[in-house]
Symmetry: C2
Subunit: 69 residues, 2 copies
Amino acid sequence: MDIKEAFGQKVKLLRKAKELSQEDLADKSGLNRPYISAIEQGKRNVSLEVIEKLAEALDIEIKEFFEEK
Amino acid sequence: MDIKEAFGQKVKLLRKAKELSQEDLADKSGLNRPYISAIEQGKRNVSLEVIEKLAEALDIEIKEFFEEK
């Protein structure tokens, strides 16, 4: 699994843990829903600034995206 | 300090802790030295794949880039 896929799976896991839909996460992060969907499918090589927006929207620290658990 | 600057400072800190020059890190990561310099100056909104290359070159886990200490 490459870094994009691993990151996408983690975004999905954390989003669901917060009981947010992709639409909710899109609204909170300022990103659009199709982009959120593509990220979760591991199809986007996202940047630092997108990672930061997702972390803020999910109310987590960025490092949590890269933790094993 | 924005995310790019914070990330750049951390790359520099971790590079120096490993006693690597920017040239060494460029060689190890497959990135070029001017790009490494720009990253460390907080001027690049790097992607997941670049973050992964830097982590592998520094022999650290990606989350270490985003830890406070």
